[in-house]
């Protein structure tokens, strides 16, 4: 009997404590919104995260807090940031997220950089009911994942769609007699390259193009001259490389040196980076690549200026996932403000159904994915404009054939 009483007392004490803590939590939630993220500050993903993700997170937090914070009901509360380094490692990313959720008790979580890490943290964010705005992941399983994890939003779309759009553009150019039908394709033997090339291969052959060269190279290949030399000997009309940033630069450099100048020159991740223009200058003219943005839209121009003013050394954003990342943050903010309190389930619901004003225009998600993407961009007069799908607002006409390389 005594034991029972003690236990009951203990329970009472515990309940009181919990209530007090709960009240404290509520009180705290009203003075700030805790937003956490684990991002690759070291390891192989650092290059991508440093260009595309980190500056946008910092810019957004700075701007929101300068405006007084996120509006909850009739008052604004500032963002408080908790961040960790995921060391480009999936286990570490999941561990960091669990810490953010259980120890730091953050209200919202921003995603890591890259397809691999976003897939890795998906289950955790789903289990804990946090919205997951994957802004830097391209995967064919996005529609399936969006169904399995209704809290997840796949902002960059699928590789099949990317390949299909590219081939549609090529078919159109062939119909206009601007190019012939020989295509050479190389890809990096890693997630992105494998996904994109296996989506592009059937699309290219189904469109009755001749795939004269189709090979992959291992990640970290330090000399791509043999590939370019062999491709050059085949004299294709179209060169497609599903490459990562270091190889994107190396392939372009090598093509210029070898004097390989096909009518369509398309490279992968990194083409839309400011580094690319910085390195190649006038030689970027006419180069196509994955991604793109509506370079003439006032919202994008304004975003570019704010990004330059905010980032270290006045760094510019990349012309693809950067703007999408920033737009996803605007969406999160608008969803939170419409809900008016920290209610993650309601925020997820709002993200699924609401429509949002962002730097990339009006966004309304269908089945947790946007309906419009930029899949092919082209450097024209020093800006990387989206050119396909041609139906997108602000789409430019492709410059084909690509102008000859010039001496730097």
């Amino acid at each position: 009997m005594t034991t029972f009483l003690t236990r009951r007392t203990a329970l009472l004490v515990a309940a009181t404590c919990a209530a007090t803590l709960g009240l404290a939590a509520v009180a705290q939630a009203q003075t700030s919104i805790k937003i956490g993220y684990a991002i690759s500050r070291t390891g192989p993903n650092t290059g991508g995260a440093a260009v595309t993700t980190i500056p946008n997170y910092e810019l957004w937090v700075k701007e929101v807090n300068a405006a007084g914070g996120i509006k909850l009901g009739d008052k604004r509360v500032p963002i408080e940031v908790v961040q960790y380094d995921d060391r480009s490692n999936a286990e570490e990313a999941v561990r960091a997220l669990e810490r953010l959720i259980n120890q730091d008790k953050v209200d919202f979580i921003l995603p890591p950089w890259g397809t691999g890490l976003n897939l890795a943290v998906g289950p955790t964010l789903n289990r804990e009911g946090y919205p997951h705005l994957a802004a830097t992941a391209v995967t064919d399983r996005a529609p399936e994942l969006a169904k399995r994890w209704p809290n997840s939003f796949w902002m960059l779309g699928t590789s099949a769609d990317a390949a299909k759009t590219l081939v549609e553009l090529l078919s159109k150019l062939r119909d206009e007699k601007k190019i012939g039908d020989t295509v050479a394709m190389v890809s990096i033997a890693d997630g992105f390259g494998i996904d994109l090339s296996s989506a592009a291969r059937p699309a290219i052959t189904n469109a009755k193009f001749k795939l004269a060269y189709d090979k992959s190279y291992p990640i970290g290949t330090q000399d791509l001259a043999p590939i370019i030399n062999e491709v050059k000997a085949l004299n294709p009309d179209v060169f497609i490389a599903f490459s990562y940033p270091p190889d994107t630069l190396a392939l372009t450099e090598q093509s210029r040196i070898a004097g390989f100048n096909p009518k369509v020159f398309y490279t992968g991740v990194g083409t839309a980076f400011p580094l690319y223009r910085g390195k190649f200058g006038k030689n970027t003219e006419g180069v196509m690549g994955i991604g793109g943005w509506s370079g003439d839209s006032p919202a994008i121009k304004d975003y570019l200026a704010r990004h330059k003013a905010s980032a270290a050394n006045g760094a510019e954003p990349d012309r693809w996932a950067s703007a999408v990342t920033y737009a996803s943050l605007q969406m999160l903010q608008q969803a939170i403000e419409r809900v008016g309190k920290i209610d993650r389930a309601a925020v997820i619901k709002d993200l699924q159904t609401g429509s949002f004003d962002t730097v990339i225009g009006k966004v309304k998600l269908e089945n947790n994915m946007p309906t419009r993407y930029w899949w092919v961009g082209q450097w024209q007069d020093g800006e990387f404009y989206g050119i396909a799908p041609a139906g997108n607002e602000g789409a430019r006409k492709a410059i084909v054939p690509k102008p000859a390389w010039v001496a730097p």
């Binding site: 000399d223 270091p246 450099e253």
Partner: protein, 289 residues
């Protein structure tokens, strides 16, 4: 064919260049320097900074970066590694200790570079124009790097085989205890060799930065490559280093041109394994036991 061989030689020359410093540090000073690649990237950043910030050509940059790296590595050996050398009862213990110490150093250097330059990719254009060489079109910066590698290799080879100091260094490499008996100042020779290795990796970093894209976290790739070349060539052997580097570069380029670019890594490791199976001490190494 000429093109594939030429490309292979240039790539192989780069591998040899990257590995030359490590073969000195590991073969003579017995320091298994795991932060080797980070030193290379640090030199690449220095060159990038000199070129983009001050318009100093990487060739002029070499004359600034290389001596600075020599002094820095000398200081590192004196301050950080000498206590390990004193404490270690034998060479094997020193190797283990140096692996741990330089592994720690990796994080220090990488962290400093991340703080200074951030995690983004860096690349600049220098001598990025085509030149005609043996009837083929090649990149001037790679050709220049090959030329400098050959020059450095020759100078080092002559210095090691034809000078008194070089002979002393080779004696230390073979047997540090016996070397002491013939009045060679082993600690001094080791320190100088380690610093020389550091100067060589800095030269490699400057040259590599003219044609490869790098970031603060890409050092480990170079450490790995250097390690393979050094072990394959025979630890501490300059000529072995050159031959192993060229062999790797040539095999990569020939396989990429005539078989499949996807198999370059596999062929690299197959070659490495074959050499180790046939000659466990490396191409030019002498079995010690």
């Amino acid at each position: 064919m000429t093109n594939a061989i030429l490309t292979g030689l240039m790539l192989g020359g780069m591998y040899a260049l990257i590995a030359m410093g490590l073969t000195l540090q590991y073969g003579v000073a017995r320091i298994m320097n795991l932060s080797y690649g980070e030193f290379l990237i640090a030199a690449a950043f220095a060159s990038h900074w000199l070129f983009t910030g001050w318009a100093i050509s990487p060739f002029v940059g070499l004359t600034l970066v290389v001596p600075a790296a020599f002094l820095l590595n000398f200081a590192i050996y004196k301050l950080l590694l000498t206590p390990l050398v004193r404490r270690a009862p034998n060479r094997d213990a020193l190797e283990v200790d140096s692996i741990l110490a330089t592994f720690g150093l990796t994080f220090v250097i990488q962290g400093s570079m991340l703080a200074l330059f951030g995690g983004a990719y860096y690349s600049y254009s220098f001598l990025a124009f085509p030149v005609q060489f043996l009837g083929e079109t090649v990149a001037a910066n790679r050709l220049a790097a090959l030329g400098i590698t050959i020059l450095l290799g020759l100078v080092l080879y002559l210095a090691l085989t034809r000078t008194r100091a070089g002979t002393a260094v080779r004696a230390v490499a073979v047997d540090p205890f016996a070397a002491q008996l013939v009045a060679i100042n082993v600690p001094q020779a080791s320190a100088l060799t380690f610093a020389l290795g550091g100067a060589l990796v800095a030269a490699a970093g400057v040259l590599v930065s003219t044609f490869l894209t790098f970031s603060a976290s890409s050092g480990v790739v170079f450490t790995m490559k250097a390690l393979i070349v050094v072990v394959m060539g025979g630890v501490g052997n300059m000529l072995g280093c050159l031959v192993a580097g060229l062999a790797l570069g040539l095999s990569e380029s020939l396989v990429a041109s005539y078989v499949d670019p996807g198999l370059t890594l596999a062929v690299n490791f197959a070659l490495f394994l074959t050499v180790l199976l046939v000659k466990p001490a490396g191409l030019f190494g002498r079995a010690t036991r």
